[in-house]
């Protein structure tokens, strides 16, 4: 089965600035793929290369089996795109935007556009420069979705949407995927991606730092181990263990961060006759923050 998106060694430099470097991604059809990274990490540049808005300076990409530059017309027929910094024609109303797009996308897309507008409660009769960011974003979403694209590329899709609309948006994404279509969405917010995506790629300073399923990322996140003892304990044996950091050791209360195997830690704790023990995975948030900050071994030396 042809991948929805496949890149190999994709890179973009502007003069001496490296925006994206050596990016290998595979997005399978029918999945929601989250593309995470802090602002300025290269998410938007990558998306622009996927959509033939910008030309890669290294490597290449195949979208729905098409070469973005040589087969851009076919590609654009089958892809829906919501830009991150969406700008509409300020004097035109939402309705004029939809009608104008329908002339190019095909008249049947207009019915779908009307349906979506109703669902998202889009303000259609006012010039877009009079609309709030959220309302403009809704027009942009309808424009990206109206031709029922096989692949949806959404750059920070929910920015400006109120929680109610975010919820509606999430429902829509699930529907799109249930129909076998693919969603590629970028975000700098973990929450959103966590709720929607099956798999994620994390990009920092133009480089991929992790690609994995959300579940397995969660499993690989460091654990926080707390143990209570009758008497104060010496943290030294724990510090000596690989992948373990002592966060605090006061009055018989020991807090550790464990990113390697848990067994040696448990053996050390057991030898000290603990009163109580608590172990849980750190928030995914922490893992992402680590990856964002760029620690070499995620979870090892942050906090």
């Amino acid at each position: 089965m042809t991948a929805a998106i496949q890149t190999s060694g994709l890179g973009k430099t502007y003069g001496s600035t490296v925006a994206v470097s050596d990016l290998d991604l595979v997005v399978e059809p029918g999945e929601v793929y989250g593309f995470l990274g802090p602002n300025g990490a290269g998410k938007t540049t990558t998306i622009r290369m996927l959509l033939a808005l910008q030309r890669p300076t290294a490597g290449g990409a195949s979208i729905l089996g098409l070469d973005p530059w040589r087969e851009s017309v076919d590609l654009h027929r089958r892809v829906g795109y919501l830009p991150g910094d969406l700008e509409l024609y300020p004097r035109m109303t939402g309705r004029q935007h939809l009608e104008w797009f329908a002339r190019i996308r095909g008249e049947e897309s207009l019915a779908r556009a009307r349906e979506l507008s109703e669902r998202f409660d889009v303000v259609l009769d006012r010039p877009t420069h009079e609309l709030s960011k959220g309302n403009r974003q809704k027009v942009g979403l309808v424009l990206a979705l109206m031709h029922s694209p096989e692949l949806l590329v959404l750059d920070e899709p929910t920015s400006g949407l109120d929680p109610l609309m975010q919820h509606e948006f999430e429902k829509l994404v699930h529907e799109v995927v249930a129909e076998g279509r693919t969603v590629f969405l970028s975000s700098h917010e973990l929450d959103e991606v966590q709720r929607l995506a099956d798999r994620v790629a994390i990009i920092r300073s133009g480089r991929l730092v992790a690609t994995d399923s959300v579940e397995s990322l969660r499993r690989s996140a460091p654990q926080r181990v707390e143990a209570w003892f009758a008497t104060p304990v010496d943290p030294a044996p724990f510090t000596a263990l690989a992948g373990v950091r002592v966060l605090s050791a006061e009055d018989g209360h020991l807090v550790l961060r464990v990113s390697g195997g848990i067994a040696p830690v448990l053996r050390e704790i057991a030898a000290l006759e603990p009163l109580d023990l608590l172990a849980r995975h750190a928030d995914l948030d922490e893992l992402f923050l680590d990856l964002y900050r760029g620690s070499e071994k995620a979870g090892d030396d942050a906090d």
Binding site: R48, L53, S72, H76, R77, Y81, P83, E87
Partner: protein, 262 residues
């Protein structure tokens, strides 16, 4: 050929166009209506001839009270090209670079339309704007026949076309600069500088001998600077303007097909 993009851009510039057209219609009417008051004025001619270089700067050479001199000195050698270039260079720079800076171009560029088609439609929109201006001015100039300003339909039509081609050439230059540089301001600057140099070359050529051989390099010379209002526009004139236009259009397509958009 489909015209959605051309119509979209024309819609966006509708108010601006109406402003230009109403302004130029009024101006042209005043120039034409004033002709009877000046056509026998010896003093105006003396004033012009006393400093022919200064007059040449405004595109005037020879008698200003003759029919050709009056139309050249007030419309075709200065005011119409100026407004035409404001229109075409302004649109040329904004149609690609400006819309990219505003962020709307990526909406177009991710629709299933080849980039070359986007360029062709925008060139069409530029042509429509320039043609509207040339036609309105030409129509009011022809009204001059009721004010003792005897002009033939053929000559007015011809110089309208050559003015339009002049505008298109510089507009396409602005478009090419915009596609290459991605910035509207830089595109306007580059095209305006070349237009200004080209204008001076053509208008000073009749009075400044050192400039004279360079006039062939000026697009103004091939459009309005070689007595076209009275002598008509030659096939060579049309040919030069058209060939330059086609080459520039091809350049815009090549540049825009490779351009990085935002």
């Amino acid at each position: 050929m489909r015209t959605e993009i051309a119509r979209l851009d024309l819609g966006i510039r509708r108010r601006l166009m109406i402003g230009y057209l109403v302004g130029m219609a009024l101006y042209t009417f005043i120039v034409v209506a004033m002709y009877p008051a000046f056509k026998d004025s010896e003093s105006l001619n003396k004033l012009i001839q006393a400093d022919s270089t200064a007059a040449a700067l405004f595109g005037v050479s020879g008698s200003i009270t003759s029919v050709g001199g009056w139309l050249n000195g007030n419309i075709y050698a200065n005011f119409l090209p100026l407004i035409m270039l404001l229109l075409t260079v302004g649109y040329g720079a904004s149609s690609l670079a400006g819309q990219d800076e505003e962020g709307t171009l990526c909406l177009l560029a991710t629709l299933p339309i080849p980039r070359s088609r986007i360029v062709l439609q925008k060139i069409g929109a530029m042509g429509a704007q320039g043609a509207a201006l040339a036609v309105v001015v030409g129509a009011f100039v022809l009204l001059g026949n009721s004010f003792g300003l005897a002009v033939s339909f053929g000559n007015v039509a011809a110089i309208s076309v050559s003015s339009l081609l002049l505008g298109l050439d510089f507009g396409l230059l602005a478009m090419a600069a915009g596609a290459a540089l991605g910035r509207r301001g830089a595109a306007i600057g580059a095209a305006s500088a070349l237009a200004a140099a080209s204008y001076l070359l053509s208008s000073l050529a009749p009075v400044v001998n050192t400039v004279k051989p360079g006039r062939y390099l000026s697009l103004f010379y091939w459009s309005i600077g070689n007595g076209q209002i009275t002598a008509g526009v030659s096939a060579v004139d049309y040919g030069v303007l058209a060939v330059v236009g086609v080459l520039l259009a091809a350049l815009v397509i090549i540049l825009f097909r490779r351009a990085d958009l935002h």
